[in-house]
Symmetry: C3
Subunit: 182 residues, 3 copies
């Protein structure tokens, strides 16, 4: 899938607390367009509430419109991405967790999200976690989550024009890139 001009889209992937959200914000603001933030987080306990509040405070006063959408991300993207606007969806890991808890099929939802990205009228930035680079969890549920997250990351990486890895706050472009052959 090729993206041109205003149809550019990026997947920003990194470890927890790697600075990926902050970099994704910078990437979105760098377009100079009106920034719309789609938060997939739901504040269910004090720890989460504190994180959501801290992220909100970070964005406060910097002109972001915030939309909260824990489940229907494809629809929210389709509605938000418009001429003169840039949409940041943060993050796909909490979204996946919400989908699984709600009994929805992650692969079906990932396909719908990929289609929404392809059809969007403006640029989109999506944030996701790498969760598969530790020891394989003993817990079968955790293994299934890691599998679903990996499949989702691969599918969305195929759908976007740009993939950027972030480590210690430093971005590294993975796509587009020269072909790697033996």
């Amino acid at each position: 899938m090729t993206a041109i001009g205003h149809r550019k889209s990026a997947l920003v992937i990194g470890a927890a607390r790697s600075g990926k959200s902050r970099f994704a914000e910078r990437l979105a603001l760098g377009t100079g367009l009106l920034p719309v933030y789609i938060a997939t987080a739901e504040a269910r306990d004090d720890e989460m509430a504190a994180r959501v509040a801290a992220h909100r405070a970070d964005r406060a006063g910097r002109g972001w419109t915030t939309i909260e959408e824990p489940l229907d991300l494809a629809d929210a993207l389709a509605l938000s991405a418009g001429v003169g606007q840039v949409v940041l969806a943060d993050c796909l890991t909490l979204w996946l967790s919400n989908l699984i808890e709600a009994g929805r099929d992650p692969d079906t939802e990932a396909s719908a999200l990929a289609a929404a990205i392809a059809g969007a009228a403006g640029p989109i930035v999506l944030v996701t976690n790498e969760v598969g680079a530790g020891i394989v969890p003993i817990n079968a549920l955790a293994r299934r989550f890691a599998d679903a997250q990996g499949r989702l990351n691969q599918k969305i990486a195929s759908a976007v024009s740009d993939v950027i890895l972030v480590a210690a706050g430093q971005p590294l472009r993975l796509k587009p890139a020269p072909e790697v052959t033996l």
Copy 2:
């Protein structure tokens, strides 16, 4: 160790479910040689059996010869790598797990594998996991596995001509690369 022409060899490293196996297949098929697949997986329970079957289905009808070798990987490589053939060994993480369970010494086996790579008559692609980028496991056995995996990855990375990192299905070349100095 320098590799030239048909002696090229690659280590493909990535997180679980990062798309590293699929990329490794593409890398092997890109040589245009007859592809031989060495599977180190043993189907011991339903979850593993399902994964092995899915991977087999992925390769079905695409001309691969499959060899199953959970332990004697160096020998299998030496026997399989030949003129006009490309060998894909997938993956070193299951192999390491099999070695430890069988009471073999991982470092000795890694040295034998490195020697087999150096002596191979045709190109070789090996797939391995990064397992050390999560929180250090409380479990001493898991820590020892992560240590052994890391040492194995470093040793094989030294032995091959190419090292490629995969994240979200996107490859990134780590070797050969310009020297990094301060």
Copy 3:
């Protein structure tokens, strides 16, 4: 923060057992300056003692001066970094663990370390772990550690002139790098 000439500083980040310490040593020795090693590890049990001893043996006979400083790393850096010397601090993950156990505030200490790096009279190399790329730990303490480690890594990455990712012993420069935009 820009570093010039002898004021260069590097953060080397990688998974456990990724070869990051060995690469960091090579980077420090490559300067041709007198190498000073600041070890943040404390040998508290047999496993740790074995690791510390193995690392010491690795450095033995190669001209390193070793300083052990589990807590006051900023001070140790300020005292050690001098004209004609290169300092290697290994590693920030054990340092963070020591700080938390001693009841010190990681963010305050990270700021002091960043200031010491900026004011150092000679080049500095620091080693740290990526610990956030596995499944989010169930354990709240482990989550808080991963958060603190991520914030520390970002802060030090901002303070140094060079950031280098290591996987399977292979270095990849993340900073300085061309700006990544959409």
